[in-house]
C-alpha cells in the first residue's frame, strides 16, 4: 500500500502562521513594538483596528491589535505591553525568533465612513497602538477629512508612545495632537490631567464629527459621554472593546458581551450599541 499525501487542509483558523521577528523596538520601559515577516512570504492584509492572536510557542497566545501602517506594504507590526507571561515572552522575543500569528480578526475603525467630516481620535495609554493604523490611513488621504484631532492621555511623560509619529502627524499631516499625562515631573512642559480635559479646547464641529476612542473602558466611557455632551452623535462614537478574546473567531464565547462576540462583532463598535453594556462585567 502506498501512502499518499493529501493536499493541506483549508486554512485552519486555529492554526497560527509562523512569523519571524525582524525588529524589536523598545517604546517605553514595558512596551515593545515588534516587526514580523511571514515565513511563507505571504503578507497579512488587515484593516485599521483589527487584531491578531499572537502566539508565543510553548507559552500561549494573546489578542494584540495591529499597530502598523495599513497603507504601507511593510512588516506586520504589533505594539505589546509586558503585563503577563505571554506578553512577556513576546516583548522579550529576539530578532530572528519565530512567533505564531492567527488572524487578522474583528471589525476595523472604518475610517472611510468618517470622510467628509471632522475626526477626533481619543487614545488612553496603550490604546494609541490600535488607533495608529487609523491615523496613518487618515494621514494618507488627509484631504478627504476636515479637522483631525488626536487627544492622547498617558500615565506619565515616560509612557508616551510613538513620539516620532506624533510629531509627524502634527507637522506633516495637519493633525492637531494634544497630549496630557496623569502625573509629571517638574521638567514636563506639557499638560497634566485626564484626556477628557482636552475636549473642551479641541477644535471640531460636533454634529459633523466621528470619534474613534481606544483605551481603558473607564476612559472610553468618560470620553464618549463628554463627546456626547458636546453634541457628537452616539452612532459616530466608535470604541474599541478588547475584552477576553480567546479563539478570535466567535466560537468559544469568552469575549461575549450580551449579544456580541467582541472578536467578530467588535472590537470596534459604536457607542449607541455599546452604551447599555459598558457596565457588564468581564468574565
Amino acid at each position: 500500500m502506498t501512502a499518499t499525501r493529501t493536499a493541506p487542509p483549508p486554512a485552519d483558523p486555529m492554526l497560527p502562521r509562523p512569523f519571524r521577528v525582524t525588529r524589536s523596538h523598545l517604546d517605553t520601559d514595558d512596551t515593545v513594538t515588534l516587526s514580523l515577516e511571514p515565513l511563507d512570504g505571504e503578507p497579512l492584509d488587515f484593516a485599521a483596528g483589527q487584531f491578531t492572536m499572537l502566539h508565543a510557542f510553548g507559552i500561549g497566545e494573546v489578542p494584540i491589535s495591529i499597530s502598523g501602517d495599513p497603507t504601507w506594504p511593510g512588516p506586520l507590526t504589533h505594539t505589546i505591553r509586558d503585563v503577563g507571561s505571554v506578553t512577556h515572552a513576546l516583548v522579550t522575543a529576539q530578532v530572528g525568533e519565530v512567533v505564531g500569528v492567527r488572524g487578522p480578526y474583528g471589525t476595523g475603525w472604518a475610517t472611510d465612513a468618517a470622510a467628509g467630516g471632522d475626526v477626533l481620535l481619543a487614545a488612553g495609554g496603550i490604546g494609541l497602538a490600535p488607533l495608529r493604523p487609523a491615523l496613518w490611513e487618515i494621514a494618507d488621504r488627509r484631504e478627504d477629512f476636515g479637522r483631525v484631532v488626536l487627544l492622547y492621555g498617558a500615565r506619565s511623560p515616560a509612557d508616551v508612545l510613538f513620539a516620532h509619529d506624533l510629531g509627524r502627524w502634527a507637522d506633516e499631516h495637519a493633525i492637531d495632537v494634544e497630549i496630557t499625562v496623569d502625573y509629571a515631573p517638574p521638567t514636563w512642559r506639557g499638560r497634566v490631567g485626564p484626556v477628557t480635559k482636552l475636549i473642551s479646547r479641541a477644535g471640531f464641529d460636533p454634529p459633523n464629527t466621528t470619534a474613534l476612542i481606544c483605551g481603558p473602558e473607564v476612559m472610553m466611557t468618560l470620553t464618549a459621554n463628554a463627546l456626547r455632551g458636546r453634541g457628537v452623535p452616539t452612532d459616530r462614537l466608535r470604541l474599541s472593546m478588547e475584552r477576553n478574546m480567546k479563539c478570535g473567531v466567535g466560537l468559544c464565547g469568552h469575549c461575549q458581551l450580551r449579544e456580541f462576540f467582541l472578536c467578530v462583532d467588535g472590537p470596534v463598535l459604536s457607542y449607541d450599541r455599546l452604551a447599555p453594556l459598558m457596565d457588564v462585567w468581564e468574565f
Binding site: V83, D182, P185, V192, P194, P216
Partner: protein, 153 residues
C-alpha cells in the same frame, strides 16, 4: 489697551455672568505677569489671591519628600488657578508655578469675599462659577487617582 472687564470676558470662567457682575469683581483685580519658574503661590501660605490665566501655562505641584515634586494639574489660557481664597482657613494646599511666561488677572481674595458677603446675588453667581471649576477638578482628580494606564492588577 484692554480693560480688566474686557480681559475677563475672554475666560470661560466668566461666560454667562452679567456685565454688572464682571464690572463688580473687576474692582478687586489687577494684572500680573510671571516668568517661567516664578511661583504664583506656595502651599501653606495665605491664600489671598486667585488667578485667571490669560496666556501661558501654570503647573499645580505637590512637594513630596519621598517622590520629589509632582505636577498634579496644569492650568492654561482662560482657566482659573486656585480656590483656597474662598474656603477657610484660606491657605494654599499646593504650589503653583509658571512653566512658561504667563500673564494673568489676579484677584484680591479678601476684597472678593467682602463683596460677596455684602451682595449675596454676586456671591451666588461667583460661587456657581467656582463650583463648576471645583467639580471639574474633582472629577479629574478621581480619574487620575484610578491610575487607568498603570499596570493591570
Amino acid at each position: 489697551m484692554r480693560t480688566i472687564p474686557e480681559l475677563l470676558t475672554d475666560s470661560p470662567f466668566f461666560h454667562g455672568l452679567d456685565k454688572a457682575v464682571i464690572d463688580l469683581v473687576a474692582g478687586c483685580a489687577t494684572t500680573a505677569r510671571f516668568d517661567a519658574g516664578d511661583m504664583l503661590f506656595r502651599a501653606g501660605q495665605s491664600a489671598d489671591t486667585f488667578f485667571v490665566i490669560r496666556h501661558g501655562r501654570v503647573a499645580v505641584e505637590l512637594r513630596n519628600p519621598s517622590r520629589g515634586t509632582i505636577t498634579l494639574d496644569t492650568v492654561h489660557d482662560g482657566e482659573v488657578a486656585g480656590w483656597s481664597w474662598l474656603i477657610p482657613p484660606y491657605l494654599w494646599m499646593f504650589d503653583a508655578r509658571a512653566i512658561e511666561p504667563t500673564s494673568a488677572v489676579a484677584f484680591d481674595g479678601a476684597c472678593l469675599r467682602g463683596k460677596c458677603d455684602r451682595d449675596p446675588a454676586l456671591g451666588y453667581a461667583l460661587m456657581r462659577q467656582v463650583s463648576q471649576v471645583m467639580y471639574e477638578r474633582l472629577q479629574a482628580a478621581r480619574v487620575q487617582m484610578l491610575d487607568l494606564y498603570g499596570a493591570p492588577t
